[in-house]
């Protein structure tokens, strides 16, 4: 009950502070901005100041808020890195890229930087990782931190898992497996969904009906359940060949996700085929291939690219969830979804050893970071392409 009273009191205080702020602004400056300010805006200012105050208090005066401090530090470091990266981009490179970086928001440069880092880590995993992903060591369950007094080992900075594999190496290899497979799957989904969608939009009639109804049927089944079902069948087919299972997984997720791509490209294509320049091309006698790839596709890049970014995140998360549930990427291949599952028990140690509890969060964080980065870049691209149309 007392919590409720506190919340009400804080709210009332914020409203009062907002009113005082606006009144002070009106009397001191007399600018139209304060005169026309809504009470909600003034409240927003008060709330903002209050939130920043709470943050500062947590950061400096509360001993237990370790994760909060890490989050703030991480945020500052990433922001700084993004800023430096943008600065670099503004002074290095061709005239075109420099111009691109000049108008780039910080979020987008952060996204690009992150995607670059992921790509480098994924491509050069063999050289970057200290050990192989399947290498097993004698010491199991070594704690992270590298401090022997606290149960760590300097040779394994992030520790080892329950059968003695180096976690840092597995995290790095996870980029290769998870991101690589997700990328291949998304490309396949776009190839399939995109071409069928444009075909349906251009030809229309019975083909459109046939494809659309087929897609409706596929979309009617909840996608994760459907994927699980198909993966169970596929694991029976694949038998002991884990490589084949991964291949089936790519196909299954690509087909399920291509239905969404189909819907989008059909809708986008439908808006483009009614344009007069498509009519002009048809009347010229152009073939279907030219119409789709040379006339329609260039005008559909912006929404498709945005969808590619989003779809990549969804595919990536689907693979991680399938792995988490045990039917995705199979051991001994390293994968972030599996790592989250295997290490999830460590989260119970949060009160005693924050570093240990952070282990499952590292894999989860790697997934989250890439998802956020891709979305930042996609947002920026969408903004740019819509700006060009004006």
């Amino acid at each position: 009950m007392s919590t409720l009273i506190w919340i009400v009191l804080v709210f009332a205080a914020l409203v009062a502070a907002g009113w005082v702020f606006r009144f002070a602004g009106q009397t001191v400056t007399g600018r139209p901005y304060f005169r026309d300010m809504e009470m909600t805006t003034a409240f927003g200012y008060a709330l903002g100041v209050f939130t920043i105050g709470v943050g500062v208090w947590l950061y400096f005066f509360v001993e237990q808020a370790v994760f909060f401090r890490w989050a703030v530090q991480g945020f500052v470091i990433f922001a700084l890195a993004a800023w430096l990266f943008r600065l670099l981009g503004r002074h290095v490179g061709t005239e075109g890229t420099r111009k691109l970086f000049r108008h780039m928001p910080l979020t987008a440069s952060f996204g690009i930087l992150m995607i670059l880092i992921y790509a480098i880590v994924a491509i050069f995993a063999q050289w970057l990782a200290p050990y192989g992903q399947e290498e097993v060591f004698a010491q199991v369950n070594v704690l992270p931190g590298g401090d022997p007094a606290a149960g760590g080992d300097p040779a394994h900075p992030l520790g080892t898992d329950q059968i003695g594999r180096d976690l840092l190496s597995r995290l790095i290899y996870g980029a290769q497996n998870t991101v690589g497979i997700a990328f291949a799957t998304t490309c396949l989904a776009f190839l399939l969904g995109g071409s069928l969608g444009f075909l349906a939009a251009t030809i229309g009639g019975w083909l459109d009906n046939l494809l659309s109804r087929a897609v409706d049927v596929l979309m009617a089944i909840p996608s994760l359940i459907f994927a699980l079902l198909l993966m169970t069948i596929a694991s029976a087919w694949a038998g002991s060949q884990s490589g084949m299972l991964t291949f089936y997984m790519v196909i299954i997720i690509a087909v399920i996700d291509s239905t969404r791509v189909y819907r989008l490209s059909r809708a986008v294509g439908g808006n483009i085929v009614v344009m007069d320049y498509i009519e002009a091309a048809k009347l010229r006698g152009e073939g279907l291939g030219y119409l789709i790839f040379r006339e329609i596709l260039p005008n559909a890049y912006a929404p498709l690219l945005a969808e590619f970014g989003l779809r990549f995140c969804f595919v990536f998360l689907t693979i991680a969830s399938l792995s988490f549930l045990g039917v995705g990427i199979q051991p001994p291949l390293a994968d972030w979804g599996t790592m989250v599952r295997d290490l999830s028990q460590f989260i119970n140690f949060a009160a005693f050893s924050p570093l240990t509890a952070a282990l499952p969060l590292m894999a989860a964080g790697a997934i989250a970071l890439l998802t956020v980065a891709v979305n930042f870049v996609v947002d920026w691209m969408l903004h740019r392409s819509s700006g060009l149309k004006e």
Binding site: R284, G285, E295
Partner: protein, 550 residues
Amino acid sequence: MTNRDLLLKIRDLHLEGRSDETWQQIVNGVDLDLHKGEVLGLIGESGAGKSTIGLAAMGFTRDGVRISKGSVEFDGIDLTQASASKKRSLLGKRIAYVAQSAAASFNPAHKLIEQHVEAPVQHGVMSKAEAMADGIELYRRLRLPNPEEIGFRYPHQVSGGQLQRAMTAMAMSCRPDLIIFDEPTTALDVTTQIEVLAAIRRIVEEFDTAAIYITHDLAVVAQMADRIKVLLKGDEVEEADTRTMLSAPKENYTRSLWAVRSFQRPAKPAPAADATPIVSIQNVTAAYGKIDVLHDVSFDIHAGRTVAVVGESGSGKSTTARCITGLLPPRQGVIEFEGEPLPRDYRKRNKDQLRQAQMIYQMADTALNPRKTIGEIIGRPVQFYTGLRGAKKRERVRALLNQIELEPDQFIDRLPSELSGGQKQRIGIARALAAEPRFVICDEVTSALDQLVAEGILKLLARLQDELGLTYMFITHDLATVQAIADEVVVMKEGEVVEHGPKAQMFRPPHHPYTDLLLSSVPEMDPDWLSRMLAERGEDNIGDAAVVRM
């Protein structure tokens, strides 16, 4: 005029628009005075800043536009400095706005009268019941059919002209002192336009409302305004009483605007009686789905001539073009090209048949692929039909650009979005010419353009016809364009040809009653034209009402 009170006083108004992170001047210091009950016409081409000034007169700017200097005084209140709540109490009550597209301005989810009563109820002028009764009264005064019921329809259930009048009624709902009309009739057919013009003029006079009437059409503004102000690129060119302005404009720019309609090429002599027409449309009936939209249409187009097809929206002009190009295979009838019947469906036509008939579109914006450069747009048909590649293709594209009077070096690598409306339309012409056709369909090619630019396009088309011996089918609803360029005229109404003959014959009575109505509905530059026309025909015998009675 001086003894009446000053209602709106704009002084030294500067407006800036944002583009690429910088602010650029779009209106440079315009002064404007408006007295009670007076109508001021603002005219100019697109980009002259007339709409922006119209909105600024309400103390409002669009996103990305700001008032950088100057004052807008409405009845002693400076709207540029007034608080948001002060402006809210004025807008809709004492100042109202009528937009160009009523269809886009009404909320499609609510009935007309529900939207009508919003302003008076919000401002506390009337109760909802009073406002409804008043709305019906206004509908009656604006001569809307069934005034008792029309308000209870949804926007899509009434015609464009009726919607525009309903919007005028809505603006009148609080009996404002000032109404801004922003091109209220531009999107309407001529016969509908005259109805709306008559209704607006009458109601503005009845309530003694002051108005700013924004348009690019001189003949329209001549009917509506007491005074006219001419704008060019954000600057005032000149201002004078309507009669003075029309009879004796001072500035060269104004004179050039006035002179646009004077372009006229002489009609070519009639073709030999036994000549084979280049395109012959014989008893064509065509349908969208199950509904026939063309009924037994027949006419011939002879080589080297321009045949104008005239009619209002929905008359079947564009459908005829679609039948000729094969996009809409006719249900019955034959289309012959130089005596040879063409396959009905364009997919069954061979490359040469497709090449011979080309099309130029109304909206150059949607007719050019926005992701391709001008060189690619024109180069594609060159390569496709003539097989030229590489340097030879580029040479041909440059020649075509020269032919349409655009400098090749400057334009060949640009995208359509970097071109003005008139330039885009020229590219559309070049793309048609690239196929080296004998017959070109021009579908409303000038109706989306400013008058000076449109005149340039018409002159270009006339020159190309002389040089290349082209044959045009010219679809238009604008009779001034027909006067300028046509040799023969086909008048269509509801999918039928109502009259067909040489131009000279068409513009001389006796006419088919529909042609007569069409011709008499075109506004003239005479300020007394509307009054005379209403006196001659009677208020109930104009516009849609007259069409229905036919």
